[in-house]
């Protein structure tokens, strides 16, 4: 008898109409329960109040290619501040007729970053491509060879400077952070204490004070006549700072690894270095991708703090345009413009991290 009931159940039964189609979706996702219904309505009202007026301001009533004077009569956004000043905002004081050089350097950087997205491309040749690319970018920026006019680093600014500080800051801070995390868990007391001291000291001060130290206090200790490039000093400060935070996140990942993984690796005869490189770190670093990316994103945004030691990064060049009487008062438009750059940077980082996480865990999930 059980057999019989079973067979009648097996026939295809259409789902009830309320759970399919647009109405079904709306009902299930927006109005399932009174609390959700209220939230949905509230959200729609807020969106209605914000989006159309913004759209009107930004696109319909806006002016695009005028002087600052003309802008003052416009009802909407004055994008002219961007179109009239974008070269300065993006390249700062880099000589106007040479600005193709930083532009080309940035294109090389974007190209390399984009190509490196795909893990299948992570081969030795990619390493060489990066080395060659870095060399070319440095040459383009600095000049002095192959008939390129030399450009002082004091003239570097804007987007290339922001990218320089963040791309090198982050790529150098990450391995340093991993080494610090390993050091903090070392069995050798001297190394362990040093790493703990370093991490806790750095985490105990704000980035601003580190930047100040690197730009004002540090040079006082240098012998007369020797100066270390200001950008380099800021770069080092950013690296040291970010590495301490990454170290703590990575330590969390290391702690999540079971003792059995270490033991299995060791009982195969793998030494400490190979155990870490082949077994522990690939797993531990994968676990901490999300918090690591949070740190990298905030480090990327924190590079704008170099303003206080008078480096002309993207934020500073924008501010200086705004202090020009012709363009005074259009800060909304200018900041929206650079916010787009920062957003693109942060968004591609978090997007990439999600892609990476997904790829790395492909297949390993348990059934």
């Amino acid at each position: 008898m059980e057999q019989a009931t079973f067979e009648t159940n097996i026939e295809d039964v259409k789902p009830p109409a309320t759970s399919v189609g647009v109405i079904g979706w709306v009902k299930q996702n927006l109005f399932n329960g009174w609390l959700n219904s209220i939230l949905t309505i509230f959200t729609f009202v807020v969106l209605w109040k914000i989006v159309p007026p913004f759209f009107r301001w930004a696109f319909i009533d806006s002016v695009w290619n005028t002087t600052g004077q003309a802008c003052r009569h416009a009802a909407g956004a004055c994008w002219s501040i961007v179109s009239a000043n974008y070269r300065f905002i993006i390249f700062g004081f880099y000589p106007y007729d040479q600005q193709w050089r930083p532009f080309l350097a940035m294109m090389i950087l974007f190209g390399l970053l984009f190509y490196s997205r795909n893990r299948k491309h992570w081969k030795k040749s990619l390493g060489y491509a990066w080395i060659l690319g870095l060399f070319t970018m440095g040459l383009l920026m600095k000049g002095g060879l192959f008939g390129l006019v030399p450009v002082e680093t004091t003239k570097w600014g804007g987007l290339p400077l922001t990218l320089l500080l963040s791309v090198f800051g982050l790529t150098a801070a990450y391995p340093l952070g991993v080494v610090l995390a390993l050091g903090r868990r070392s069995k050798l007391p001297a190394i362990k204490v040093l790493c703990i001291l370093y991490i806790e000291l750095i985490r105990g001060v704000p980035l601003i004070s580190l930047l100040f130290m690197s730009s004002i206090i540090f040079p006082l200790f240098l012998p007369e006549g020797i100066t270390i490039n200001k950008i380099l000093r800021a770069q080092v400060a950013i690296i040291l700072f970010t590495a301490a935070y990454i170290a703590e996140v990575v330590r969390g990942g290391l702690q999540a690894m079971s003792r059995g993984q270490y033991e299995a690796a060791e009982s195969l005869g793998l030494n400490y270095y190979l155990t870490m490189r082949l077994v522990i770190l690939p797993q531990a670093l994968k676990i901490v991708i999300p918090p690591t990316v949070s740190i990298l994103i905030s480090a990327f945004k924190d590079t704008s703090l170099v303003v206080i030691i008078a480096l002309w990064d993207l934020l500073k060049t924008t501010q200086s345009v705004l202090s020009n009487p012709e363009w005074m008062g259009f800060s909304r438009e200018a900041y929206i413009f650079i916010a787009i750059f920062y957003f693109l940077g942060c968004f591609s980082m978090s997007n990439y991290s999600r892609k990476l996480e997904k790829e790395l865990s492909a297949g390993e999930e348990s059934r």
């Binding site: 079971s258 059995g260 993984q261 033991e263 299995a264 690796a265 060791e266 009982s267 195969l268 005869g269 793998l270 030494n271 190979l274 082949l278 077994v279 690939p282 797993q283 994968k286 790395l360 297949g363 390993e364 999930e365 348990s366 059934r367």
Partner: protein, 258 residues
């Protein structure tokens, strides 16, 4: 099968020692886990260790490849003494295979990569050769078709067989098993024991911590009973099960064989 076993049973005790454990002591803090262990394991000899929980069985076999450090006495594996010399430790570990209760496969690597990791990086064997050998051992544990899956996609019994194959890929001189079947569902125990029996038939030197008394009876040359950090009694399976000498052994056997 039993005849084949019989033949292999006849290792000669005059053979060289594979492992010598001489008056070994170990403490965990104040707790005296191993209290003067003396044991010689000959080449091709198969030893089963049993005993109540907490008696130090795992600690003893983990001392043999230095996953735990002993504090007094000497442990000599294939002529090399275990000291603080890292190079010696790594050398011994490469010669001694270890199978854990919880498999401890590397979850981020495919089965094949799990197997070739040691050969490629420790033995410096070219990748293609290491993979060939890995496939051979996967065949041997009857699981070759899973080579490209990840450990998380296999059942417990399959994972343990992979773990055994992973050790075998290093061409070990001794295999240590720490309760290899006790984390498995009953229906998977046999498939793992069968692989271990095949291994025994080929003359592998084995030390097995297990409560599988059927396995001990048919495979072991010697069964040891441990309690409170000491080897209380050791004998051929026949004698050990039918004629236990010590009270504690009798009590333990009566509990385990209901």
């Amino acid at each position: 099968m039993n005849e084949a076993l019989e033949k292999n049973m006849k290792y000669r005790s005059s053979d060289e020692a594979m492992i010598e454990i001489i008056d070994v002591h170990k403490w965990f803090g104040d707790f005296h886990v191993l209290r003067g262990i003396n044991l010689t394991v000959h080449k091709q000899e198969r030893i089963v260790i049993c005993g109540p929980s907490g008696s130090g069985k795992s600690t003893l076999i983990r001392c043999i490849n230095r996953l735990e450090e002993h504090h007094r006495g000497r442990i000599i594996v294939d002529g090399t003494e275990l000291t603080n010399n890292i190079k010696n430790i790594e050398k011994i570990r490469a010669e001694v295979g270890m199978v854990f209760q919880h498999f401890n496969l590397f979850p981020h690597l495919t089965i094949l990569d799990n197997l070739t990791l040691g050969p490629i990086w420790v033995r410096k064997i070219p990748k293609a050769k290491a993979e060939e050998a890995a496939m051979y051992y996967l065949e041997k544990v009857h699981i070759a078709e899973q080579a490209h899956k990840y450990p998380g996609q296999l059942s417990g019994g399959q994972q343990q067989r992979v773990a055994i194959a992973r050790s075998l890929c290093m061409n070990p001189k001794v295999m240590l098993f720490d309760e290899p079947t006790s984390a498995l569902d009953p229906e998977m125990i046999k498939e793992v024991l069968d692989v271990m029996i095949e291994l025994a038939q080929e003359g592998m030197t084995m030390i097995v911590v297990t409560h599988e008394m059927g396995f001990a009876r048919s495979v072991a040359h010697r069964v040891l009973f441990m309690d409170f950090g000491q080897i209380v009694e050791g004998n051929t399976p026949q004698e050990f099960f039918d004629n236990p000498k010590h009270e504690r052994t009798k009590l333990f056997l009566s509990q385990i064989l209901h």
